[in-house]
């Protein structure tokens, strides 16, 4: 069975496309459109990788990452952040928390796939 990726992004159209591409690559993708639902899933299940959008209403990506770190819900090295912003202090703070990598929107799908593979390889099974 393929590895499970949780995708937390309020942009449903983009998330669906990412989901489609990842399914083709053999990954099982779960998508939620807000941080609260993302945390709820994280508390029950352990995805192999989390793709987290920075800018979301309610809980934003940074707050979700902070809660994951506080509650030790997953290895922070299994988090890949998607952000519309350039490397700002906010993104640097996420690296301080130990996230694996970040990719700025607009992005190239091949770059995302490459980062996903690298993150999964780096963190092991």
């Amino acid at each position: 069975m393929g590895k499970t990726i949780l995708l937390v992004d309020d942009d449903t159209y983009v998330a669906r496309f990412i989901g489609f591409k990842l399914n083709k690559q053999g990954y099982t993708v779960k998508h939620v459109d807000n941080g609260f639902d993302g945390l709820e899933i994280m508390r029950k299940e352990k995805p192999d990788l989390l793709i987290l959008d920075m800018m979301m209403p309610g809980l934003d990506g940074r707050e979700v990452a902070e809660r994951i770190s506080e509650e030790k819900l997953m290895d922070m090295g299994k988090i890949l952040v998607l952000s519309g912003k350039e490397v700002t202090d906010e993104v640097k703070a996420l690296f301080d928390l130990g996230i694996h990598d970040y990719l700025q929107k607009p992005f190239n799908m091949d770059s995302l796939l490459m980062r996903i593979e690298r993150a999964l390889d780096a963190t092991g099974p």
Partner: protein, 370 residues
């Protein structure tokens, strides 16, 4: 015993009651029918999404040609949903995928549909049509004329959407005219101004050209004060530091319609953010600490707190007695950096002494004493 008068009143009351009940029932019926219509419409869009989105993905995987994709755009819902999806994906993707997605927008069915929607009575339809043309290089004269007409529309959303389309034109003259017309419009929302400015500046390969146009706009008396202030605020974010002299000159001259001090206050705040050493000269030359506008005095107090030097003690002493609490707090915090601080504090009226203790504490924290 009922009198004839009572009977008439009772009959009238009954009639009114019946009319009210009938109106209420009609309202309930109308609301229910409207809800059913909306639900049906929503389902049609959901179905169109389910049908169209996988086709876009297949097209990106080279499993479908543009013509084959076009053949699936049967209903208006298909066209709208396909455009929404393409628009969002184009904004979020780059490289080959983005280029291929853009190619799909050249399909005639999109052009025909959105050209017809530019004259729709529904503002949301018109705005969406504008967004379609914002993704294209508009060469069609009749579309340009229509978009220019919409730029004069009183609805902000239509004006903004039409401007967005026009500033994406490959023709520099069209872009510049649209940009200036937008800026000179009254009551632009600051977010719309930011968005348009970023997109407009992004169209210029040479940032000096974009900066020069922005500099002229900041000093243009026909650009409303609020819009000019929005332009000033985004200069640091745009990195247009070559506009320092324009900002200083504007601070010196002010804006003809600045009847609340917003223009000068914003200039001081931005120059403060840029730590510009030339600001003092213009604040002093125009006695801006004595401005009738609280916003300007507050900006001066914040600037003096940030750029403190003993030479500012005089104006800070005046501002520390200001009628506005926030101005006083900032001025007094700045004065804490001065040797005269305690003397000035002792000079404060009795009712301000407690406030001073608070200020002293926070001022001391600011300068690292606590």
């Amino acid at each position: 015993m009922f009198t004839p008068y009572d009977t008439i009143v009772a009959t009238l009351m009954s009639a009114i009651l019946i009319v009210l009940v009938a109106l209420f029932m009609a309202l309930v019926l109308y609301t229910s029918l409207h809800r059913v219509k909306l639900n049906r419409e929503k389902k049609r869009y959901e179905k169109a999404e389910e049908e169209v989105q996988p086709l876009i993905y297949e097209y990106l995987e080279d499993k479908l040609t543009e013509n084959e994709f076009s053949n699936h755009l049967i209903t208006a819902q298909h066209v709208i949903t396909a455009f929404r999806t393409l628009n969002l994906l184009i904004d979020n993707m780059r490289g080959e995928e983005q280029a291929r997605l853009r190619q799909l927008l050249a399909i005639q069915k999109f052009h025909r549909y959105f050209s017809s929607r530019l004259n729709s009575n529904h503002p949301t339809d018109v705005a969406q049509a504008c967004r379609y043309f914002a993704q294209k290089n508009i060469a069609n004269i009749s579309i340009l004329v229509e978009l220019k007409r919409l730029q004069e529309h009183p609805y902000n959303v239509l004006n903004y959407s039409a401007t967005l389309a026009l500033i994406n034109s490959p023709d520099e003259k069209v872009r510049d005219e649209a940009f200036n017309a937008f800026l000179e419009r009254k009551e632009n929302a600051s977010m719309a101004v930011n968005d348009i400015v970023f997109k407009y500046c992004g169209k210029h390969e040479n940032s000096n050209t974009a900066a020069a146009i922005l500099g002229v706009a900041i000093q243009n008396p026909n650009v409303p004060v609020n819009t000019a202030s929005s332009l000033i605020k985004i200069i640091p974010e745009l990195g247009f530091f070559q506009l320092r002299d324009v900002l200083l000159e504007s601070l010196d001259e002010g804006h003809a319609n600045d009847d609340q001090g917003i223009y000068r206050a914003t200039l001081i705040e931005v120059l403060n953010e840029l730590n510009d050493p030339g600001t003092k000269k213009y604040i002093m030359a125009n006695n801006l600490w004595e401005s009738p506008y609280t916003l300007v005095r507050l900006a001066v107090a914040r600037w003096a707190l940030n750029q403190y030097e003993p030479e500012l003690d005089g104006l800070l002493e005046i501002l520390s007695q200001d009628q506005d609490l926030e101005v006083r707090i900032n001025a007094q915090k700045a004065l804490y950096k001065s040797e005269k601080a305690e003397r000035i504090a002792r000079g404060l009226p009795e009712d301000l002494q407690t406030e001073w203790e608070e200020i002293k504490r926070s001022g001391a924290a600011d300068v690292g004493f606590l």
